[in-house]
């Protein structure tokens, strides 16, 4: 009892083949879109790669890129096959390729779905990577003379300016790192020495922030220094001056940005997956209908098309048996109709002798 059986007349088969040809070409375009989305995501991630602690997240765009290229290739082949399916004679060319092609397309469609789901599930890993990366970036902000870290200051400044954020979760994060390099500190000055001695690690900590934390919408010129004491600047009370610095943390800002990008990409990929599924179903119907026509022998007759020949459970058992039997191909068979070669007969003699001795 077949799953999803539909009967096709000759005209319907030809129409199905034509429609599938068109759909396959549209799928080539969507495959190119998928490829483009992968490239876009990769570029976006690489823009702020320096503030991410691990590059593992790059496997999402790589997967999208490979799936997109595979989509273009598979659907191009599919369009050629469907074009030939309209004619029963030309179908014979593709007869042996059809089944592997459908299995391939099925796995590929599963990959597309996996890609879409990855886009949604990557948030946790991204969050950790961003927070760790930003923490490192802030620690190495002052190391503009150390190779490998010399661009972190610029990157972090541009990040804070562009995303309108300060620190990791807030501007107070800057109070806990030394962001002024020792090269620019006058070690003979008593005030500097006092600050260095005031904490265990000998770091020069201040209640100040870099200029990139300054908000452009503030009505007063930016107050960067002595932020925690209320009597620092005339008429400045840090509680009542919310506009002076950016309030948002850069961790949150970047996470929101990337989550937004990935969610829209994930939605697009899901829609592409649904479309691919539709194309796959159509090709399966076409394949089974054409094979049944060949089996019936009359190209003009009606034929049945289905998704699965038997029910789901029976098909699963059948395939499982095939896989089990693949491993048995070198074992000796006890079927009396098979002519056992003389090598096996010679081997049997020593075993009988062994039995007698034991």
């Amino acid at each position: 009892m077949a799953v999803g059986k539909v009967t096709f007349t000759k005209a319907e088969r030809e129409k199905l083949a034509e429609v599938l040809w068109l759909l396959n070409w549209i799928s080539v375009v969507t495959g190119a879109i998928l490829f483009g989305l992968g490239i876009f995501l990769k570029v976006e991630i690489q823009k702020w790669q320096e503030v991410m602690s691990e590059q593992g997240i790059l496997y999402v765009p790589h997967m999208l890129i490979t799936t997109g290229l595979a989509a273009c290739g598979i659907n191009y082949l599919g369009s050629k096959i469907c074009l030939d399916c309209a004619d029963t004679n030309k179908f014979l060319r593709w007869k042996l390729v059809m089944m592997p092609y459908i299995v391939c397309t099925f796995f590929f469609t599963a990959c597309v779905l996996a890609g879409a789901l990855l886009c949604y599930s990557i948030r946790g890993q991204l969050e950790e990577s961003l927070y760790q990366g930003l923490r490192n970036a802030m620690r190495f902000y002052k190391d503009t003379d150390t190779p490998g870290r010399c661009y972190l200051k610029r990157t972090l400044d541009l990040l804070q300016i562009q995303f309108q954020c300060c620190g990791i979760s807030g501007y107070r994060d800057w109070f806990q790192v030394q962001w002024i390099s020792g090269r620019y500190l006058d070690m003979t000055d008593g005030a500097v020495v006092d600050r260095l001695r005031s904490n265990v690690e000998g770091k020069y900590l201040m209640d100040s922030v870099p200029f990139s934390c300054c908000s452009t919408i503030s009505p007063r010129p930016c107050v960067q220094h002595r932020l925690s004491s209320a009597s620092s600047d005339f008429s400045y009370d840090h509680q009542r001056q919310p506009l002076n610095l950016w309030r948002r943390g850069c961790g949150q800002a970047l996470l929101d940005h990337y989550t937004g990008v990935m969610q829209s990409i994930g939605l697009t990929v899901l829609l592409i997956w649904l479309f691919e599924l539709l194309v796959l179903t159509g090709v399966r119907y076409l394949q089974t209908a054409m094979e049944n026509v060949l089996r019936l022998g009359d190209p003009e007759s009606e034929s049945d098309g289905w998704i699965l020949e038997k029910s789901l459970a029976e098909t699963a058992c059948y395939n499982f048996d095939i896989i089990k039997n693949l491993g048995k191909c070198y074992q000796v068979d006890d079927d009396p109709n098979i002519n056992v070669p003389s090598v096996a007969a010679e081997l049997e003699v020593p075993s009988q002798q062994v039995q007698v001795q034991s």
């Binding site: 620019y184 000055d189 990139s212 009505p219 010129p221 600047d233 005339f234």
Partner: protein, 361 residues
Amino acid sequence: MTLLKMKFNQQRRVRLAQGLWLMSWLAVTGGAFIFCLGVYLKTELLRRDEVMENAEIHVVPNILMMVGLASMGTNWVASRVCQDSLDVSRFPRWKVPLLAWFAMAALLCCLLLTVVVLSYALQGSLEDSLKVGLRNGIRFYKDTDVPGRCFQKETIDRLQMEFRCCGNNNFKDWFEVQWVSSRYLDFTSQEVKDRIRSNVDGRYLLDGVPFSCCNPASPRPCLQNHLTDSRAHYNYEYQSEELNLYSRGCRQALTDYYMGLMNSTGPGVLSLFSCVQMSVLLSMRYLQTAVEAAIASENPEGESEGYLLDKGVKETYQDVRAKVLGLLKFGQVDPSEDASGAAEGAKTADTEKAATPTPAS
């Protein structure tokens, strides 16, 4: 003696009409592209219009938009003429509109050339406009509580950060204005009082700049205050410090940006488009003359001649001049002229004029 005469048989006329139809649609898309270019340039100029004092430079995008729209319409008309040109019954109704069409197409080509020239010529005006606008912006930077000026601070800050520039010509422009509002100055402090007394106008001037002048590429955290005093900061040399602030002035930065925008798109795109327009014009002239000759002859399917000008350039110019002057004399009573012989009268008037120089020439 006709100018650039060519023979056309029926097949060549058909080919010409088809080619011209295709080219006119190409010109329509070109016109749409030029319109979009004009819109883009105008939005870019409008985005920064708070630091521009006058809007003279806006004439460039305005002309681009007008030319774009006009060329779309003109070339669409050309495509319709092509469609009708092979139908003997429908072509004659285009006879008069085609004269207007030729005038319009020639005008468009001239306007395109004007735009290219203007985009170079108006650079000085743009610079002056920016100089005054930026000077005002810097002066009103502190007035965040005055309606009408309260956004100057945000505008100037964003401008300096986006274009990586500081001040009008350089960062020293900030030393000459009071950019810290008096609301945030402690008048009981001796330092503040000294500074205010140190100049005639009683302004609080300091050798410091706003945070938006800071260069993120500098290896040291930004120094904003006491910039001229090398002793005020450790390991700081005022004369040799280059990376701390942006070295470019905003006037130069903005001028370079807009000139780059206009000069990168201008000559290339516009010369290409005017070539297409010229070829549409010439092909239309050939098509018109060839089809009219074919219709006038006994055999509309046979060969005919197409040309650019009926007579030579000089004679055509004199003819046209005479016609225009005849039109201008329309209101006057002229005994030698009568309504049906207006053309001959123009010719005799023309020969008279050729003999005697007129005040108009």
